[in-house]
């Protein structure tokens, strides 16, 4: 079999992946009052990781990223559901969210909300399920 000519892709992937991943984290964090959120952030991270799978060998990346994506889905679902339940334990309605302003060094004053934890759960679920589905089909094809 002819060896694929993916030298340029590999070189550029190193650059692209930094931009994509950092932007996806930005989207995840911005998504409370501005556009963004766990879903879009998760999809973007998944696409970033897919670039890695595309440009480098499947086995190489599998050796580097050793997550069991199925378990990541489970953890994400737990995050999302427990955020909702947490407010029930304090006698508030299910999924009630709270926020406050904190001063963090370097970043300055930021708004932190409990909805963020829910979004983080969504992020994990979307990231892991998108990757799992694509990789399942890709693996099966060999």
């Amino acid at each position: 079999m002819q060896k694929p000519n993916n030298m340029m892709l590999q070189t550029l992937a190193r650059l692209i992946i930094v931009i994509v991943l950092s932007f996806s984290i930005y989207l995840l964090l911005a998504g409370h009052n501005g556009p963004g959120g766990g879903f879009i952030g998760g999809l973007m991270t998944a696409s970033g990781i897919l670039i890695l799978y595309l440009s480098f060998n499947f086995k190489t990346i599998q050796a580097v990223i050793r997550f069991d994506y199925v378990k990541v889905i489970g953890i994400g679902l737990l995050f999302a559901s427990l955020t909702g339940v947490a407010s029930m334990l304090f006698g508030f309605p299910f999924l009630k969210h709270f926020f406050d302003y904190f001063t963090i060094p370097i970043l300055g004053e930021v708004e932190l909300t409990t909805a963020m934890l829910f979004d983080l759960g969504v992020y994990f679920v979307v990231l892991a399920s998108a990757l799992k589905i694509i990789l399942t089909i890709a693996e099966d094809d060999k």
């Binding site: 199925v70 378990k71 489970g74 953890i75 737990l78 559901s81 909702g84 309605p93 299910f94």
Partner: protein, 494 residues
Amino acid sequence: MSNVIILPIVVPFIIGAILILLYKRHTIQRVISGITMLALLALSVFLAIYVYQHGTIVLEVGGWEAPFGIVIVADLLSTLMVLLSTLVGTVCMFFAFQTVAQDREKQFFYPLYLFLMIGVNGSFLTGDLFNLFVFFEVMLISSYGLIVHGGTAYQLRESFKYVIINIFASALFIVAIAWIYSITGTMNMAHIAERVAELDQKGALNIVAIMLFIVFASKGALFPLYFWLPKSYYGPPAAIAALFGGLLTKVGIYAIIRTFTLIFNHDIAFMHKGVIVTIAGITMIIGILGALAQSDFKRILSYLIISQVSFMVMGLGIFTPLAIAGAVYYITHHMIVEPALFLFAGAVQKITGTTDLKKMGGLLGTHPWLTWMFFITAISLAGIPPLSGFFSKFSLILAGFQEQQYVISAVALLVGLLTLITMMKIFSHTFWGKQKHSAEQAKISVGKLLLPILPLVALTIILGFGAEPIFNYSMEVAKDILNPTNYIESVLKE
């Protein structure tokens, strides 16, 4: 207190997530999901009793006030439905422990099962139209997973069609939602009901009503949208077919009853007594003719679902307290009997290795317990007194005659008779006649399989002999849903 009503949705969610983490270990999955279902059953019994004693409970999710936020509403009808669905879910799960193969169990069988319960319970409890769509989808996506579970060639082929049909129906649901939102400007069902009452239900609103009816009818398998059901319910294992036969169509029927008693109740002469009664009559006949034509255990049962659900819709169409109470009683009866019959089909299949009626016979000699339990359930479905099927059909037909709906009542009587014939066909082919299974097959013990079905058989006897208190309860439910101001006031707190 009001947080309790979200538990039938949240508990399976959390447990399902934990089971995903444990997906490689099937024994622990079994134990956890079994305990969860029993706990849910206890919870739903408690909820039903609490709501009966204290009236409707409303939860405003996230503390957002209705009509702006999503509300979860537990009234008499929805708690009854949650109770029944959890009962069916528990029974089918205990049946699945013994019939579903180990390697299949590891393929996320239990998480999917619990997510299906979220969707079903959520559809019953929600008070928001868009949220109803979301829970429908949760239910459907898990049902896609369960219906292809195992992935045989037949399952894949038929499930693909099932998925496409449901995607189309869901798209239509969003279109209907878009229409309702542009007309009324709200998604809260109580608020929509109020706005529709102000606007008077005509023109575009009647179109939306028909559109929603089509969407729910395709889930509830009403004429002419029933064709997908028999083929797709044939593929999956008996425990799943029983669960689907008990729950999925009933969610569609519940949604029809909810929307057409709460929101679209201003044009009864056309919508209820015209469209709905006619469709119920046609569905009954088509379903029973399909069942008569088949000679396969599971296929007959699938067609019977179609003819049976239309009895509930007939109750809604006649639209008197007695008729609605009959429909509620019928839902209760059917959600107990239909899964039981599917589970018997599974037990028979385990013994004879087939569901083809022509290839089996003489089970009476080798498996008398199975035979007599099936016999009780079958004559209950056919409507022989004093079992539950008789009283549910009796009240519906009585209400039909009181309202001068002679045609539909006559059709219902005829269909009841034909149901008896289909049941006798199964009985005479499977249990009577010459023994067609081998001596080794005759030794297969199904005692463990019959144990989970026993509560269902007992319940159909109890529902028959103790008909009066349960019928009074159904009357309460009927009066509650025929008086929508009650629902609207408890949601909007006016």
